[in-house]
């Protein structure tokens, strides 16, 4: 009866109710969509950065992180790798050589970070191959292959199969140079990565730099929620000579923008909710105004104050819930569609490592959060007019 009465009462003013329901429908749909999109963007951006640049965990010799000194290699690397593989949550382990270098073409030269990787294991741990726009991954049929970004290719005016000279300081502190050939060109969503990174075969770089051991061991883990436990678990099995870092420590600058990106969705939602809250408040005030006489009559024939209060709260609840539930369903469908067709993101944000097209994922906790907010909002806002209604004297 209470719900039936609330339902009939809200339709006493069809236009007003329809307008509010439409606003709530689109408001909730858009808020849900925006929250999911922003959350997905931030998640994707972190995943991309992690998968491209660091993987979940990295091991270095203590001090290497400071200036990437090529001489700070990992002693007994094979031993360390064996120990790491014993950890139950470890999925893939890859060794890398990484140092600062200068890449030069006849046209130009740039400073960069050169990474020597073992193609077979590296493919399992990194996603660079997913972003190849030309050529192929470090192919075996080419001598001294190198992967460079589209940005680097443009700057150095290089094409596929062009020669590129890499100059670096070897472990004997001598300047050495090697000639590599462009095997593939990649374009990732991460501008800092693209501007800075070239990738070659582990053995080629080992030879060029006279390096016996890797400077970096990258680890991909099975359960990402156990990041910190796995990190400290591995650190415990190694001596203090080695430093184990997780990707969040390795990419500190990422987190700053993360909060900002999520803020966009939250801010949008707050605006929507304030707007809806304001109109609900107005409607409830009008309802009390219009029905003062009727409420006085109900009080006279014996409806309790509490029942008057709950009657109005129910009306606000039915009103808001129809809008919220239908809007959330629509937002859900929108997100599902977007997850298939993609959402174009305005260019210029690639500096932040955001992909030009996003495929948002649906986050169940966002739906729950939106429902909880809608409920709290309804009760908070409707309570004031309901309280005024409750104080109407028995009358007719």
């Amino acid at each position: 009866m209470t719900t039936k009465l609330a339902w009939r009462n809200i339709w006493r003013n069809k236009t007003r109710t329809t307008v509010f329901l439409l606003a709530a429908f689109f408001g909730f749909a858009m808020a849900l969509f925006a929250l999911n999109l922003m959350k997905s963007i931030s998640q994707q951006r972190l995943d991309d950065a992690k998968n491209l640049q660091t993987s979940d965990l990295q091991i270095h010799k203590m001090g290497f992180q400071d200036d990437k000194d090529i001489t700070l290699f990992i002693p007994n690397a094979e031993n360390v790798i064996q120990k790491v593989k014993e950890n139950a949550n470890v999925d893939v382990v890859a060794k890398r050589i990484s140092t600062n270098a200068v890449a030069a073409s006849p046209e130009n030269s740039i400073g960069c970070e050169i990474k020597g990787v073992e193609p077979t294991t590296e493919r399992e741990i990194s996603v660079v191959q997913d972003f190849l726009v030309e050529g192929s991954y470090l192919s075996t049929d080419m001598r001294m292959p190198i992967l460079i970004s589209k940005k680097t290719a443009d700057k150095l005016k290089l094409k596929l199969k062009s020669k590129i000279i890499i100059t670096l300081k070897n472990t004997q502190e001598e300047i050495v140079g090697g000639s590599f050939r462009v095997a593939g060109i990649f374009a990732t969503p991460s501008t800092p990565f693209d501007e800075n990174t070239v990738i070659v075969n582990y053995t080629d770089l080992q030879e060029l730099g006279s390096i016996s051991e890797p400077q970096e061991i990258a680890i991909k883990i099975k359960d990402p929620t156990k990041l910190i436990e796995t990190q400290s678990g591995i650190q415990e099995t190694l001596s203090a000579e080695y430093e184990v870092n997780n990707w969040k420590e390795l990419l500190p600058e990422l987190n700053a923008f993360d909060a900002f990106i999520n803020m966009v969705g939250v801010l949008f939602t707050i605006i929507v909710i304030l707007g809806l809250g304001f109109s609900l408040m107005n409607i409830m005030n009008m309802i009390v105004q219009e029905r003062t006489h009727e409420i006085g009559m109900l009080r006279a024939i014996g409806q309790s104050k509490f029942k008057v209060f709950s009657m109005l709260l129910n009306e606000a609840g039915v009103l808001m819930m129809i809008g919220a539930v239908s809007g959330i369903l629509f937002g859900y469908v929108l997100t599902l569609i977007a997850s298939k067709v993609g959402v174009p993101i305005s260019s210029g944000l690639d500096m932040l490592g955001i992909r030009p097209v996003m495929y948002p994922k649906l986050n169940p906790e966002i739906i729950i959060m939106v429902i909880v907010i809608a409920k709290i909002l309804t009760v908070a806002i409707a309570s004031i007019p309901a309280y005024r209604a409750m104080r109407i004297k028995p009358n007719y």
Binding site: M1, L5, R8, N9, R12, H293, E294, M297, L298, R299, A300, I301, G302, Q303, S304, K305, K307, P394, N395, Y396
Partner: protein, 227 residues
């Protein structure tokens, strides 16, 4: 046994500015099954008296006893509950909830009392048949004439079998045919159900139907005659 007894009842409006003695030291009693009209000029205090008896308003001084219970002492919430369970109300207009059907309006108070569905249904059917609106059971008030609406209001006032019914000018907005119909119904239900009726009116035809007539002037009873 007196169903209602009022003693030295007084209601003064605007006590601090321009005091109006709307009910001025009135003592009266009503027995079970009485069918009483309160008459008097406009502003004589009929509505104020009925509101005091019905517990909608509180007296400045004096007491109202219902079935021996001093209701003037009840707290606001207790008074609301007392009205719900013991008194039926019929007002001049806007008695019914426009969003409810005739049936739903009649069973409204029983719903407030959380009476079981079967009991409600049975009572509603009896009453709507009694008032001759069995065929309008699912109509909303807007589809009923003024007279039909007042009849539904009477049915609602009686649905939960109150001790007495208060009706403030129930026929004021009705034509003579509807007025006669409503009075027939009130009289019939008064006889059948034994409910005490107190109603105010300006209409001589209504006064003629009453078994007891109390004439009011300036907040005082100037005559009280029973037939």
């Amino acid at each position: 046994m007196n169903v209602i007894e009022i003693k030295n009842l007084r209601k003064i409006y605007n006590e601090k500015t321009v005091p109006v003695n709307a009910v001025n030291d009135v003592s009266l009693s009503f027995k079970a099954k009485e069918f009483t009209a309160i008459v008097g000029a406009s502003g004589s205090g009929k509505t104020t008296l009925l509101n005091l008896i019905g517990g909608i308003d509180t007296p400045t001084s004096g007491n109202v006893f219902i079935n021996g219970k001093n209701v003037s002492e009840l707290s606001e919430n207790k008074m609301t509950q007392f009205r719900r369970d013991n008194i039926g109300f019929v007002f001049q207009q806007y008695n019914l909830l426009p969003v409810l059907t005739a049936k739903e309006n009649v069973e409204f108070i029983m719903e407030l009392q959380k009476k079981p569905k079967e009991e409600r249904e049975k009572r509603v059917t009896v009453l709507l048949t009694e008032i001759g609106l069995a065929d309008k059971i699912n109509e909303r008030p807007a589809k009923l004439s003024g007279g039909q609406q007042q009849r539904v209001a009477v049915a609602r006032a009686l649905a939960h079998k109150p001790t007495f019914v208060i009706a403030d000018e129930p026929t004021a907005n009705l034509d003579s045919k509807s007025t006669a119909d409503l009075l027939n119904i009130m009289e019939e239900l008064n006889q059948k159900e034994g409910t005490t009726f107190i109603f105010s009116t300006h209409d001589q035809r209504v006064v003629d139907r009453a078994k007891r007539v109390i004439v009011f002037e300036d907040g005082k009873v100037i005559s009280d005659t029973s037939k």
